[in-house]
């Protein structure tokens, strides 16, 4: 592994510049701030240790998103082995049982997270990349390493699922 000392300065600067969006992507993917931070940390660690694999001239943010998504897949496998899977339909109630989450429930962020967590992970990743991070379908397809048509169908299914979960629309707020 290349030590951190081997990471070029401009790359470190670019990673720092990309951190806010990486944090948002990781938090949306993971479902809460704590797991999102863990995912971001794991992503950055991997990016730093593999900085030599980054292709100059390509988008660093996309590269980080790709690493994050792959780390998330690894983490999901681990938690499945632990039997920590949560039935999607139980999620809103479960979140209400936790003190911190109950406080957060008041916020739009918690409502958005509940909707997102009801969407299967691969669809959620596509949705976050395009709708929240503003990537094109082509860019999202590259990040997720799937055909363009797969991104299109995942995003459509994500939106249909969100619609189903939130009832008519999530925007029914004061």
């Amino acid at each position: 592994m290349a030590g951190h000392g081997a990471v070029p300065e401009d790359m470190r600067t670019a990673i720092i510049a990309a951190l806010p969006r990486l944090r948002r992507f990781c938090t949306g993917l993971a479902g809460n701030a704590h797991d999102g931070d863990d995912l971001m940390q794991s992503t950055v660690e991997r990016a730093l240790s593999r900085s030599h694999l980054f292709e100059p001239g390509t988008r660093l943010d996309s590269w980080l998103f790709r690493i994050a998504r792959n780390r998330q897949i690894d983490l999901a496998r681990t938690s499945q082995r632990r039997g920590a899977q949560v039935a999607v339909d139980d999620l809103p109630d479960m979140m209400g049982e936790d003190g911190q989450q109950t406080v957060d429930n008041r916020s739009d962020l918690a409502a958005a997270q509940r909707a997102l967590q009801a969407v299967p992970e691969d669809q959620r990743a596509a949705f976050l990349l395009v709708v929240v991070e503003g990537l094109s379908y082509r860019e999202a397809a590259d990040v997720l390493d799937v055909p363009l048509g797969t991104v299109m169908s995942r995003i459509a299914r994500a939106r249909a699922r969100i619609e189903q979960v939130v009832g008519r629309s999530a925007g029914a707020q004061p």
Binding site: H4, E9, D10, R12, T13, A14, I15, I16, A17, A18, L19, P20, R21, R23, R24, T27, G28, A33, G36, M40, Q41, V44, E45, L48, G57, T58, R59, L60, D61, S107, D108, L109, A111, A112, Q113, A115, L116, V130, V131, V132, E133, G134, S136, Y137, M152, S153, I155, A156, R157, R159, A160, I162, E163, V166, R168, S169, A170, G171, Q173
Partner: protein, 237 residues
């Protein structure tokens, strides 16, 4: 609702339909209120979620976090770089969205460019600030002056250009071979003139009009596009 309609609706919302298909789809929506309502619902949901998540990308990236991530700057030279790249400003992205007061408050965030760097003003301090500071963020130069980038555009020749406020004036600099070179300066609103910097208009842009015309500048980038350009090291897409 059939999957074909859903995919076309999604692609239409994302601007991914070819023009003729988009026109045909819009005609379909006009002819069928139920479809149109569904399209509106999706759009509202998108916007709600994007808005709800926006603050996550605005929280400051502080030294503790950088240290935890192994990104803390150690070498003296690096001390001139921003310690935080925050305020990755929100919402003039695809959907125009009204900004809340919480966002206005977050604009007060100041990026300290250097506390330990050389006391002498460095000739490329401004360049460093423009390289790494999001629009509406503030960078403090080693000599104490502050710079506020206000917007980012693309010149007709492909260069990135950024308007900024500094020392009570406005300037426009374009990136050339890794350095931001000042193309024009003018009198304008000072950095304290407003708590909420104009989204697209910049400061008193009139001073820079000639330069903008000469450069054939594009419309200003949205915050996400700007962040993406910054993250890519200002590479051409």
């Amino acid at each position: 609702m059939n999957p074909d309609f859903e995919q076309r609706l999604a692609a239409w919302l994302d601007g991914a339909l070819p023009p003729d298909e988009a026109a045909a789809f819009e005609a379909e929506l006009e002819a069928d209120p139920a479809l149109a309502e569904r399209a509106a619902n999706w759009q509202v949901n998108d916007r709600f979620i994007a808005d709800a998540l926006a603050p996550l990308a605005q929280a400051p990236v502080d030294d503790v976090l950088l240290a935890r991530l192994g990104l803390a700057v150690a070498e003296p030279r690096a001390a001139a770089l921003p310690q935080a790249a925050n305020d990755n400003l929100p919402w003039w992205r695809r959907h125009a969205i009204v900004m809340g007061s919480a966002v206005a408050a977050s604009m007060a965030a100041v990026l300290i460019l250097s506390t330990q760097a050389a006391r002498q003003p460095r000739p490329d301090d401004l360049s460093l600030a423009l390289e790494t500071t999001p629009s509406r963020g503030t960078a403090r130069l080693a000599d104490g002056r502050t710079v506020q980038p206000t917007l980012t555009v693309r010149a007709a020749d492909g260069r990135w250009c950024r308007e900024y406020r500094m020392e009570g004036g406005v300037g426009l600099a374009c990136r050339d071979q890794g350095r931001w070179k000042v193309e024009a300066k003018g009198a304008g609103a000072g950095p304290d003139a407003t708590a909420q910097i104009g989204l697209a208009g910049g400061a008193d842009g009139s001073a820079l009009d000639a330069a903008y015309a000469r450069l054939g500048a594009s419309d200003p980038l949205g915050a996400d596009a700007e962040a993406a350009a910054m993250a890519s090291g200002w590479n051409a897409r």
